[in-house]
């Protein structure tokens, strides 16, 4: 059986791999090449400048700030989003009290409804979500401050996106809100494939919901969580974080550089400042960060696979 196996696999993969090479690997190589030039992006002539762009990047304060924020995004967003999603999914599928005549393992009352509600934000495009929240965060007449006023908290009227200490968290909250539903559905699907007898056995042994979650649900769901982690991290480093920062924040990227992220900086350098080569240099740095992130997740997540 082993003989010719690779040829067999390669036969199937040739076309996708060729497409992959053309549309993914080749642009990689191209942009790494451009990062060693002084290309403006607005004219076809440029020359090689060696490591100048990289030297400049290491001295660039805004680059370091954006890197810091991107890393924070990649750490905080997956943790918060996945924890929330796991919690919700567990409550929807497993966490309910046993009702008379019903199945042993069930979700909380109205779980079907919750499942749909959680998924709602996923239907909206990220640009619309960002706009909606930009309105909600409006300190003068936005929904949040109006609500605070309605509750009699007239003295508590934060500037939200206008406050450098809050702005980044406001942006993250939006991303969590918009993404959590997808993972609730993903984890729900994962939980549905866990055999009910495992839970029943645990219940017979007198395990609490807490124990059930950490001893049964989480270990059996580990693969899904890991993929979710990578996916969420990429989202936090990539297009989604760009969209919310670009649409919602002061500047964009502010106030006082408090929300600038690497993707935004790439965009600004390439398309606002006409420094495409420097932008690709930051892009290469972003690539390294993304690779490192994926490597860490894969390594930390490596576990013995359970067969069931």
């Amino acid at each position: 059986m082993q003989h010719g196996k690779y040829r067999f696999i390669v036969g199937f993969l040739a076309l996708p791999l060729a497409l992959y090479a053309l549309f993914v690997v080749w642009p990689f190589i191209q942009s790494i090449y451009y990062s060693f030039t002084d290309w403006t992006g607005l004219s076809p002539d440029f020359k090689m400048v060696g490591f100048d762009n990289y030297k400049r990047m290491l001295d660039d304060e805004i680059f370091w700030k954006s890197l810091q924020h991107s890393l924070l995004f990649a750490l905080v967003l997956p943790v918060v989003t996945l924890s929330l999603a796991l919690f919700f999914a567990f409550m929807i599928n497993v966490g309910g009290r046993r009702r008379k005549g019903g199945p042993v393992i069930t979700g909380v009352r109205g779980s079907g409804f919750y499942k749909i509600v959680y998924f709602f934000p996923q239907v909206l495009s990220i640009a619309i979500v960002a706009l909606l929240f930009a309105f909600a965060y409006n300190p003068d007449s936005g929904a949040i401050n109006s609500l605070l006023r309605g509750l009699g908290l007239d003295s508590l009227q934060p500037l939200w996106l206008g406050d450098p200490n809050l702005a980044l968290w406001c942006v993250m909250a939006v991303l969590v809100w918009s993404q959590v539903g997808f993972f609730v559905v993903l984890f729900s699907a994962g939980m549905a494939s866990i055999p009910a007898d495992l839970y029943e056995a645990a219940l017979l042994d007198g395990a609490s919901r807490f124990t059930t979650f950490f001893r049964i649900t989480l270990p059996l769901l580990w693969d899904t969580v890991q993929s979710g982690w990578v996916y969420m991290g990429i989202l936090a480093l990539g297009a989604e974080s760009f969209a919310v920062v670009q649409i919602m924040t002061t500047g964009p990227g502010g106030p006082d550089y408090s929300t600038t992220v690497m993707v935004l900086y790439v965009y600004q350098k390439a398309f606002r400042d006409g420094q495409a080569a420097y932008a690709t240099t930051i892009g290469v740095a972003l690539l390294l960060v993304t690779l490192a992130f994926a490597a860490v997740v894969m390594r930390l997540g490596r576990r013995e696979r359970l067969e069931f």
Binding site: L42, V266, G274
Partner: protein, 481 residues
């Protein structure tokens, strides 16, 4: 087969393989979608159209059979005015093919064509996707518009085009030396915008000195109205009234020094006095609460609703906020208040300059055609058409007689009359976009007006930014002539 794990037999398991390739694919998504967006190509440019015969009717020698391609930014001014102008071109050159397109995506549509060397003949390089002018000039991508400026004007053959333009237009198109690379078609008046009606309800006229300004704000505050608001999320709107105030207080050369990125330009006493004056608005609570979290539309809406008296803005505000400005608002603009009687320039000193930058690419096939189209647009009839349609002035000096001006426009014309030759034209926002918007605007003035930095700290910070920009070899530097 049926292997689920690599551990069982030495090869690569099916699931692992799928998982690994999926992971790889995912990793590459964010980085690459950005990087691959731009790739430069070669190309030696396109064939140029042969020059036509120069006549009195055709002073630029346009080839009357060559195609003329015109790409317009489809923004606040719409596209009708330009379409009307292309119809005149078509009428004058019936054998030529006129290709007209309007888009908001200037940069994504045209950047590849610049890279390939086949750009259109005339471009309105404006909007959020504006291509960096400094880079275009620096890389010799633009045609010198001097032949157009020296050609006889469309209406009066005795007068050159350059003599029919408003003050500052020609200089704004220059970057270093004589060539004129850009022709700004719209003419924008910057300043402090307010409702004449609201001012009258406070029994006040527009304050000429800062003491009067503070007194008026105090009066408004007692009536539950804030003195000022501004686009808090885009604090680079503040300079629209702050820069001309600096110019008024300290003289033109203070602003020139700032534009030239001279050392310690920001430490001039006039700058300090003006920043302190603005900071006082914050300290005394005259700024509408929550302003630092408002974007331009939100702040304009709050102002139009009468929550604040004044807003620093440009003449486009009348069109942009037309749907929220009440009919009896009586929109007006004023040159900024000064400090007191010892200011270097008189009250009325105002910032006005060109908007909607039109360019003719150096590699255009029919550059003469592009310039001829501009010459048509700079005629009195086309200018009037523009003003009547979009409520904005043009670079053509005049062209307001016989049309009904809206309140804001009328007040803008009056402010220009009052200013006379005292028109200032700070250049930071077109020479050094990042410095002006992100550094001076958001990180400097924005922080100060939100009360998170004092004027002294702000000046130090901004001077640091300016010094960095002066030293930065990756950007092109310019000087006032």
């Amino acid at each position: 087969m049926g292997s689920t794990s690599a551990a069982r037999h030495g090869g690569v398991g099916r699931r692992d393989l799928i998982k690994r390739s999926a992971a790889l694919g995912l990793i590459s998504v964010p980085a690459m979608s950005l990087l691959s967006a731009c790739a430069s190509g070669g190309g030696d440019g396109q064939d140029k159209a042969k020059a036509g015969k120069k006549t009195a009717k055709n002073p630029l020698g346009v080839n009357d059979t060559a195609q003329m391609e015109f790409v317009l930014f489809d923004g606040g001014f719409g596209k009708e005015y330009a379409e009307d102008a292309t119809k005149i071109y078509q009428k004058n050159f019936p054998k030529a093919k006129v290709k007209f397109a309007a888009t908001q995506k200037i940069q994504s549509t045209l950047q590849p064509r610049f890279n390939q060397g086949n750009p259109p003949d005339l471009i309105d390089n404006s909007g959020a996707e504006q291509m960096d002018m400094g880079v275009l000039v620096g890389k010799n991508q633009l045609a010198d518009l001097t032949p157009l400026l020296d050609a006889p004007s469309y209406d009066d053959p005795q007068k050159k085009v350059r003599d029919t333009l408003r003050p500052g237009i020609v200089e704004m198109g220059q970057f270093d030396g004589d060539p004129v690379w850009i022709l700004y078609y719209a003419y924008t008046v910057y300043g402090v915008w307010y409702s004449q009606k609201a001012l009258e309800s406070l029994d006040a006229t527009y304050p000429e000195t800062w003491d009067q300004m503070l007194a008026l704000c105090e009066k408004a505050k007692k009536k539950g109205m804030a003195g000022w608001t501004y686009a808090g999320k885009y604090p680079y709107y503040l300079p629209f009234s702050l820069y001309p105030m600096i110019g008024k207080v300290g003289g033109r050369q203070v602003l020139d020094a700032i534009d030239n990125l001279e050392p310690n330009a920001w430490k001039h006493p006039a700058v300090k006095a003006c920043l302190e004056a603005y900071y006082e608005l914050y300290q005394k609570g005259y700024i509408l609460k929550g302003t630092p979290g408002l974007d331009h539309i939100q702040s304009q809406t709050a102002w139009a609703k009468g929550k604040a008296l004044f807003i620093p803005n440009g003449s486009w505000v009348e069109n942009e906020s037309a749907n929220v400005i009440p009919v009896d608002f009586d929109l007006a603009v004023s040159a900024p208040s000064g400090l007191d009687g010892s200011d270097k320039m008189p009250f009325g000193t105002i910032w006005a300059s060109g908007g909607e930058p039109f360019i003719v690419p150096a590699k255009a096939a029919n550059a003469a055609g592009g310039m001829e189209q501009l010459r048509i647009m700079l005629s009195e009839a086309s200018s009037k058409n523009f003003t009547a349609k979009v409520k904005s002035l043009t670079a053509y000096n005049g062209g307001t007689d016989g049309i009904d001006l809206t309140p804001g426009l009328k007040s803008g014309v009056a402010a220009l009359d009052k200013a006379g030759s005292n028109v200032l034209n700070p250049r930071l926002q077109d020479w050094y976009v990042q410095l002006q918007k992100e550094k001076i605007g958001v990180a400097g003035l924005g922080e100060m007006m939100a009360g998170r930095a004092t004027p002294a700290e702000t000046i130090k910070k901004i001077q640091g930014f300016a010094d960095e920009a002066a030293k930065d070899t990756s950007i092109k530097h310019y000087k006032h002539q």
